[in-house]
């Protein structure tokens, strides 16, 4: 069973439907207890500060699951909250599980970046198995993650600047794009994630 963290922001149906489509067993969790979850998805829309204010009650339970080896996937803001802080909401603290900042996209490009952009693969990782250099995914964001340790970056994309599109460290992974809205290739990434929860 895959837990979807419901912290009261936005639309969980997309990720729920996508996980159902690939034969996973998604369940929406509104309480910070993840008993029985083989994997956890942190979806995300909204601002960094708003997300953190609502997600903070889940932080301890999520950290315990992470420590015990449960595969975890953050999506979009769900990726950004894994970092230390964001320019979007000065003062708000992220989980800090991946060291680094979240900063605004540079001037001169459309903001938000909204649409399909291609990946440059940096590392071979199980999550991106079957994905090739140049494959396109759906992004919607105005800020991007700058990890201190470049080795966590599995793939990048470019919109005014080359930035992390997918980060992975042990059982913690995250994508800036929305796999649940990225057609067949996106569903493939979710399948890879679900497979990792069955090992």
């Amino acid at each position: 069973m895959i837990a979807i963290v419901n912290y009261g922001m936005g639309n969980l149906f997309s990720i729920y439907n996508a996980l159902s489509k690939i034969g996973a067993d998604p369940k929406v969790f509104t309480e910070p207890r993840f008993e029985g979850a083989d994997g956890i998805v942190i979806p995300g829309v909204g601002s960094f500060g708003m997300c953190m204010s609502r997600l903070s009650q889940f932080q301890e339970a999520l950290f315990e699951s992470l420590q015990s080896g449960t595969p975890m996937l953050g999506i979009c803001i769900g990726m950004q909250v894994l970092f230390d802080r964001s320019m979007e909401s000065p003062g708000a603290r992220g989980f800090g599980w991946i060291k680094g900042d979240v900063v605004r996209l540079p001037e001169g490009v459309t903001i938000p970046q909204m649409g399909w952009n291609n990946l440059s693969m940096k590392r071979e990782v199980p999550l991106l198995e079957g994905i090739r250099d140049g494959d396109m995914f759906y992004f919607v964001h105005s800020y991007y993650c700058l990890p201190e340790d470049p080795s966590v970056v599995a793939a990048t994309t470019e919109h005014g600047v080359e930035m992390a599109a997918a980060v992975i460290r042990d059982n913690l992974s995250a994508t800036q794009f929305h796999p649940e809205k990225s057609g067949a290739k996106g569903l493939l990434i979710l399948e890879n994630f679900v497979r990792s929860t069955r090992c």
Partner: protein
């Protein structure tokens, strides 16, 4: 690099069970193109980058049908789904999001009460709010208008609402900028002069709006050929091109359009 998007638009009459996709031909006869979720699934399979549903039902007592249409679609379609028509409040928007829509489009309701843009944007994020603007050329120049030089002479653009039946006196360029300030994440820009004509997008209008804003602009109205999409991508900063009839009546597949554009060097998702 960010690809240009191709977006099929489905005008939905929800007065029948399951709803039906309709398209008026030169504002007269209505043709029926099919069942909304089936068409959406077909376009998804063909490579549509996004799907737009617009509820054009005259009376808005058919909300439940729209909810069913969105639910059914979001089980089969894994690209962003935008829904508009008759969304007048945060409550209305919530219903549509809860059924599985990723974005809502606002037109009349936002012109009547601009704060609605901020209310929805604050709750669901900027990316979830598309401001639809139906703009018509006006050649009678008035004080205080943003005037654009076009091949046919200087003009400004007036916003219409109520599905193009009434005019607001509001300058479309100023309204687009205001919409961006209020929290819209995208502009769906329809040329009323071109809509239904098959003459191609209004390049001058699209250029004027897309060059003034940071947020993405979707060009709409008049598309009859992939060449029209090429022109609007080549000559403006439009992020996406929207079309309806050319897909509904099998003149073009989404795939065919994309191949045409890719061959002409447009960055597109194949």
């Amino acid at each position: 690099m960010l690809a240009r998007r191709i977006i099929p638009c489905l005008d939905c009459d929800l007065g029948v069970p399951q709803g039906r996709v309709v398209k008026g031909i030169e504002f007269k006869q209505i043709r029926y193109a099919g069942i909304p979720w089936e068409l959406a699934a077909r376009y998804y399979q063909q490579g549509a980058d996004e799907i737009v549903f617009l509820d054009i039902t005259a009376s808005h007592e058919r909300r439940e049908t729209m909810t069913d249409v969105i639910k059914k679609t979001s089980e089969e379609v894994f690209v962003p789904l935008a829904v508009g028509g008759g969304i007048n409040s945060l409550e209305d928007a919530r219903e549509v999001f809860n059924a599985g829509a990723d974005k809502i489009t606002l037109n009349t309701a936002a012109l009547r009460r601009p704060e609605l843009i901020s209310e929805i944007s604050d709750s669901y994020g900027r990316q979830a709010v598309v401001l639809a603007i139906d703009a018509k050329r006006r050649y009678n120049l008035e004080e205080g208008r943003e005037v654009i030089s076009t091949a046919r002479g200087d003009c400004w653009f007036e916003c219409s609402y109520y599905g193009g039946r009434r005019f607001t006196g509001i300058d479309a360029l100023a309204w687009a900028r205001k919409g961006e300030e209020l929290g819209a994440g995208e502009i769906l820009l329809t040329s009323m002069d071109r809509d239904g004509t098959y003459d191609g997008f209004d390049i001058e209008l699209t250029d004027a709006v897309s060059s003034r804003l940071m947020i993405p602009v979707i060009a709409s109205g008049g598309c009859a050929h992939a060449e029209h999409m090429y022109q609007v991508f080549d000559k403006t900063r439009a992020s996406a091109a929207l079309a309806a009839s050319i897909f509904h009546f099998n003149e073009w597949t989404v795939e065919g359009c994309k191949q045409y554009l890719a061959q002409r060097g447009v960055n597109i998702r194949i």
